[in-house]
């Protein structure tokens, strides 16, 4: 029987990618929701602002995991390097999944922390919602950068290396 080693590396790469990325995104989004609940308890009148900020922050924390999902779908169904039968090409497919998975643990957790503290701040001082949301966006964008680096390395491993 002809063994397709591509299946081995692509299944493992996709699993590691999405599995590891979900750790950070899940933890971060849960933290945002927890802080938003806490802030609503203190400041029920600001609930609309809080709900909106919570959803924005969760979407920001989710982006890394969506990058990982994209890479996993590319690996599984994108016909990338499917005919590969040398070790470097096969390993690069696995490494692309791994880099995206590990790369998103930190950004998901970090952006979640930023979003949680933004909700906490809005609960404490609802009049400054705009200022706090702006700081949330700037902070989250900088924290996102390492996920973008991981995406770049993942795409390079898939298409160039």
């Amino acid at each position: 029987m002809e063994v397709s080693y591509y299946q081995l590396v692509s299944y493992l790469g996709a699993a590691f990618g999405v599995g590891l990325a979900s750790i950070g995104a899940g933890f971060g989004e849960g933290y945002v929701a927890g802080e938003a609940c806490h802030a609503m308890m203190k400041q029920p009148k600001a609930r609309d602002h809080l709900l909106r900020t919570m959803l924005i922050a969760q979407a920001l924390a989710e982006t890394g995991a969506i990058f990982a999902l994209l890479i996993a779908l590319l690996i599984l169904f994108g016909n990338v390097k499917e005919a590969a039968n040398n070790l470097p090409d096969l390993i690069s497919v696995f490494a692309a999944g791994l880099v995206m998975g590990l790369g998103c643990i930190g950004t998901g957790t970090g952006i979640g922390y930023t979003g949680g503290k933004a909700c906490m701040g809005i609960g404490r001082n609802p009049r400054q919602t705009n200022l706090i949301t702006r700081t949330l966006f700037v902070g989250a964008a900088v924290a996102e950068s390492t996920a973008v680096y991981s995406l770049v390395i993942g795409l390079l491993l898939l298409f160039v290396a």
Partner: protein, 82 residues
Amino acid sequence: MEITGVEIIRAAALLGAGICMGFGAIGPGIGEGFVGGKACEGIARAPENSGLLTRTMLVGQAVSESTGIYSLVIALLLIFAV
């Protein structure tokens, strides 16, 4: 599938690039998020200092980013130079 020594080295470099950038992104991501969170908290407490807080946040995040950029450089070196 025949595997030669050169291919093993090349495969190790590619796997190393993935591991390097992956692990290298964990720390800066958490650290920068922590900075951003504390800046939001600080602005809620003292909105009149928002300019100072935003500036300090960006400087701190830039320093925290440096290890992520080291990882990126090493990963690119492993992919293209090794």
